[in-house]
């Protein structure tokens, strides 16, 4: 089972204007940098992005916002991005805010063939407006439906030719739950090894959930908040 494509162009083949694209990452941590650059280069427009955050002005999904390629953002937190705020307040950009855990679970539900589930998050708030609510064991819950995307794009640390993935540290975040949640799942990895080199017990995401894999290049891995302490 060989999922390897030769480069980011081939990986992103078929991504078209108006599509819904799911992208992994939390802030700038664990984002598919190569694929985002390719989306900029391809100039796909009118896309709906499902991603926890929207990057910063000049990095991550902020690059797509700069080019006004995004029609709608589905996220949980969109601070730290002036251009985003401008487009949203002016009405150029549609924004759907979803609680972070609900967002993760809606992706995981799509991956796992679960069309809907109940969560307490957002009950009694505007997030629950228009949604079914229901009591279980004396507590109120909101029904949330799975997200479906045309493409899911994730970033992993190591991957093998069969598409198996291992993530690193907190760069894991939304990436695993998005695998298989799109009709096509693209994985870019820092290190690509032959099938059989990864310990089958240590694989975070089985290759069956990945359609295309390639070795990414020139990762910047920008740090949003560099916080340190002094050696005493």
């Amino acid at each position: 089972m060989n999922k390897v494509v030769k480069n980011v162009e081939e990986a992103c083949q078929g991504i078209q204007d108006g599509m819904t694209i799911m992208l992994g990452g939390f802030g700038l941590c664990g984002i598919p940098e190569n694929s985002i650059s390719e989306l900029v280069r391809k100039k796909v427009t009118d896309v709906t992005c499902i991603s926890n955050n929207a990057g910063v002005d000049d990095f991550g999904l902020g690059l797509l916002l700069q080019g006004k390629q995004i029609k709608k953002m589905i996220s949980s937190y969109v601070g730290e991005n002036d251009e985003f705020e401008r487009q949203m307040l002016s009405g150029e950009l549609e924004v759907e805010l979803t609680p972070q855990g609900t967002l993760a679970e809606k992706c995981r539900a799509a991956q796992a063939g679960i069309p809907a589930f109940f969560t307490p998050a957002g009950y009694g708030t505007e997030v629950a407006e228009g949604k079914e609510t229901r009591e279980f064991n004396g507590k109120m819950y909101v029904m949330e439906e799975a997200y479906k995307a045309d493409f899911a794009i994730v970033k992993a640390w190591k991957g093998d030719t069969a598409g198996n993935l291992i993530f690193k540290g907190t760069a894991r975040n939304f990436n695993p739950s998005m695998c298989g949640a799109g009709n096509v799942t693209i994985a870019e990895v820092e290190e690509l090894v032959p099938a059989g080199e990864l310990d089958p017990n240590e694989i975070h995401i089985p290759g069956i959930l990945v359609n295309r894999i390639f070795k990414g290049e020139n990762y910047e891995k920008r740090i949003e908040q560099r916080t340190v302490r002094q050696k005493s």
Binding site: Y77, V78, Q100, T119, G124, N173, F174, S177, K221
Partner: protein, 219 residues
């Protein structure tokens, strides 16, 4: 004297109990980690995917793949583990985290909280706050008692869009510690050193039950 942010965090740290898993929100809550009482072993969960979060790294040792929910570079303590967002919020929703501390723009006397949106002005999003407040059994709010104009942020009803309903258990402000009563209404528990009950009542729009002598906080 009203408390400063460090003191609010310090007072909240007194609530920590041995062997608790704790999620600290961005801002004042993050500072709580600096005041863990002697002999108390707690583990910090950050909802982006780590349990056993340690202090900031030494300069030069920052790892872009290791951050907290505030996007700050962090370290991992021995016994830490990483996991994905679905698992992370599974922990939260499944009530495996014993204490959540978060900031608020407004809280109401029945424990409602608003902290994610000012219509027409600021919409940064709720991040993980809605999941946390809807799920956690034990929620402490760290906040300033009044806004910059001096208006109370401890209200009969929140005026801003809610983050969660009837969820806050305790409020630690710069002026006071208050408990949300199960039947609704707040009960004054402690005063900031040198702050009078009258000052607290004047700064509180919510119904505030004051019973007997109200002790000063001790640190």
């Amino acid at each position: 004297m009203a408390l400063d942010k460090q003191q609010i965090a310090q007072r909240i740290a007194q609530e920590l109990q041995h062997n608790w898993y704790v999620n600290l929100g961005i801002g004042i809550p993050t500072l709580v980690a600096n005041y863990i009482p002697e002999g108390i072993d707690v583990e910090f969960q950050s909802e982006n995917g780590i349990l056993g979060m340690g202090p900031f790294p030494f300069e030069g040792e920052e790892d872009a793949d290791l951050i907290n929910a505030g996007k700050q570079t962090i370290t991992a303590l021995p016994g830490a583990c990483y996991f994905d967002s679905a698992m992370s919020f599974g922990m939260i929703r499944g009530q495996h985290v014993q204490l959540t501390v978060l900031g608020a723009m407004e809280v109401s006397e029945n424990g409602d909280i608003a902290n994610w949106k000012i219509p027409g002005k600021m919409v940064k999003g709720m991040g993980g706050a809605m999941d946390l407040v809807a799920s956690a059994d034990n929620i402490i709010v760290a906040m300033m008692h009044t806004n910059k104009a001096g208006a109370s942020k401890v209200l009969k009803e929140c005026s801003l869009p809610l983050t969660g309903v009837r969820c806050v258990k305790k409020i630690v402000s710069n002026l006071a510690v208050m408990e949300v009563l199960p039947e609704g209404g707040l009960k004054l528990i402690e005063r900031a050193p040198g702050v009078s009950v009258e000052e607290i009542v004047a700064a509180t729009e919510a119904k505030l039950l004051v019973e007997g002598d109200i002790p000063e906080m001790t640190f």
